[in-house]
Amino acid sequence: MTQYLLSIYQPEGDVPPPETLQRVMQDVNALIEDAKAAGVWVFNGGLHPPGTATVVRCQRGDVLITDGPFAEGKEYVGGFMVIEAPDLDGALQWAGRLARALTLDGRGDIHPGLPVEVRPFQGSHAN
């Protein structure tokens, strides 16, 4: 089994209308429940916007604290989920379901849904 980080990328600015957001949250919560039932779920969470971030860095023995985010960009990580799957295809199936949930209409007909990045964790190949 390998653990994978599924990061959800969100654009800066506009938030979808509340009724859409509610449907998205329902779909995501259902997905999390299914992932737990399947023994795939490890951890998940949604994050406050990047304006709330603080960057900490050590230089010549001093720890420097600055206002974040570390990297300014048009997109930022809005939430994530850690899952455990036998291989990439297994992880991609869950990522696909997550991506489907992260659309305005459940299909991405009007506008493509939010991208989900799938990355394997190091040293998680233990059987």
Binding site: T2, L88, D89, H125, N127
Partner: protein, 410 residues
């Protein structure tokens, strides 16, 4: 009988895919498998020329490479390297839940891994040529006009992703299978087109890519015979490749299909291609490769250009346009319309295709120029040729267009 180096090389290229694929399943490690086969090749080079060819070269390669791989694993595990052991466990684990059969040939597993959509298309192509085709990194780099270190890096990165992200080594299951087969076919067709493209560069390397693509096509037809698009792609490649000798003059100038010396066409390829096309199912909706192959088969049927059954070609383009609506298909359809209904009707169709994307495509202007030429609208034809010339990608295409443009004044 002593063996020549070239012959040994040929055998190893031929068997590379199978040997590497079997070892990857046994040891779960691509690099280990590649190195073991490479070692076996070195042993063969040092022994076969003196001792003669073994009774079964294929069996010898497998046995020698497997021994080399086991030695390598032993060396690594004595160093306390646990990766190899973990990899073996993983390999054994994935072996358990898959039955044997034609769908489970190791080479098929390997090609699905190499063409996994999680890898960049350029990496899919490079991996397929390296692992299944047995081409050297240097040869692949030359074929794609990339420096050898850059190509080596691309291969290392791709193999690293397969290992770390755990891209599986197996034939995908039903719901995913059709999409994944499409991705494999796209890679094979890309290899073929790269080889067939009339661009500068080493002609031998380019021929090699065409042969490799056709070889992969034949392999896939053998492994997934029930998939009609696989046969469609092989037929398409064979029919297109059959015209290779007629497509350029001895001076390297491009010759249009209508002007080609059809006695130079490769009859064996045409026969094989047409047989495959005739076996494509008629009742079901044929896919884009089958339709493109059928169109090429109609051209191959005509002993001289004037005999071409353009109505049949038009019907096939209509079908192709409904399942794969693309400007290039519509453009080719307009060429068929010109042959049946004349250039006026065709020009109207071509002009209707104009948009920012097609306007940047040299073939759009080249087709327009030819239609204008046939209508005697010389000044407009000249302008269209100029547009095509400014957009054409390679020297041979430009030389061809320049000749056509010059002929307008003659």
């Amino acid at each position: 009988m002593p063996a020549e180096t070239a012959e040994i090389e040929r055998i190893f290229r031929e068997e590379h895919g199978r040997a590497v694929a079997v070892l990857i399943r046994a040891f779960g490690d691509i690099d280990l498998a590649e190195e073991a086969v490479q070692d076996a090749f070195a042993v063969a080079l040092s022994r076969w020329p003196f001792e003669g060819m073994p009774a079964s070269p294929v069996g010898w390669i497998m046995t020698t490479a497997r021994r080399r791989a086991i030695d390598a694993v032993r060396r690594e595990s004595t160093r306390g390297h646990r990766h190899a052991e973990a990899a073996r466990l993983y390999a054994r684990h994935s072996e358990d839940d898959h039955p044997e059969g034609p769908m489970h040939d190791d080479r098929l597993r390997l090609i699905f891994t190499c063409c996994h959509p999680a890898l960049a298309p350029a990496s899919q192509v490079a991996l397929t040529l390296r692992l299944l085709g047995g081409l050297s990194t240097a040869a692949i780099a030359r074929a794609f006009f990339v420096g050898e270190p850059a190509m080596a890096q691309r291969l290392v990165r791709a193999k690293g992703k397969i290992r770390d992200a755990r891209i599986p080594y197996r034939v995908p299951d039903e719901p995913e299978l059709p999409g994944r087969v499409r991705s494999v076919l796209a890679v094979v067709y890309l290899i073929f087109n790269e080889g067939y493209a009339v661009s500068a560069g080493d002609a031998l390397v380019r021929d090699d890519l065409c042969h490799e693509a056709i070889r992969l096509g034949r392999l896939l037809v053998g492994l997934i015979p029930e998939e009609p698009e696989v046969r469609g792609l092989l037929a398409l490649m064979l029919l297109v490749a059959s015209r290779r000798a007629a497509r350029t003059t001895s001076a390297g100038e491009l010759v249009l299909l209508a002007d080609q010396d059809r006695t130079l066409w490769n009859r064996e390829f045409i026969l094989e291609g047409q047989t495959l096309v005739s076996r494509c199912p008629r009742q079901n909706e044929p896919g884009p490769y089958q339709l493109q192959a059928a169109i090429q088969a109609v051209h191959s049927d005509a002993a001289v250009a004037a005999d071409t059954d353009w109505r049949q070609i038009l019907r096939l383009y209509d079908q192709l346009l409904t399942i794969a609506p693309a400007p290039v298909v519509a453009l080719n359809r307009a060429v068929a319309v010109a042959e049946i209904e004349g250039p006026v009707r065709a020009l109207a169709l071509v002009d209707a295709l104009s948009d920012p994307a097609t306007d940047g495509y040299y073939l759009f202007h080249a087709v327009r120029a030819d239609l204008l030429r046939r209508l005697g609208r010389t000044a407009e034809a000249q302008q269209a040729y100029d547009m095509a010339l400014s957009l054409a990608g390679n020297a041979r295409e430009r030389a061809f267009l320049q000749r056509r443009r010059d002929a307008l004044n003659g």
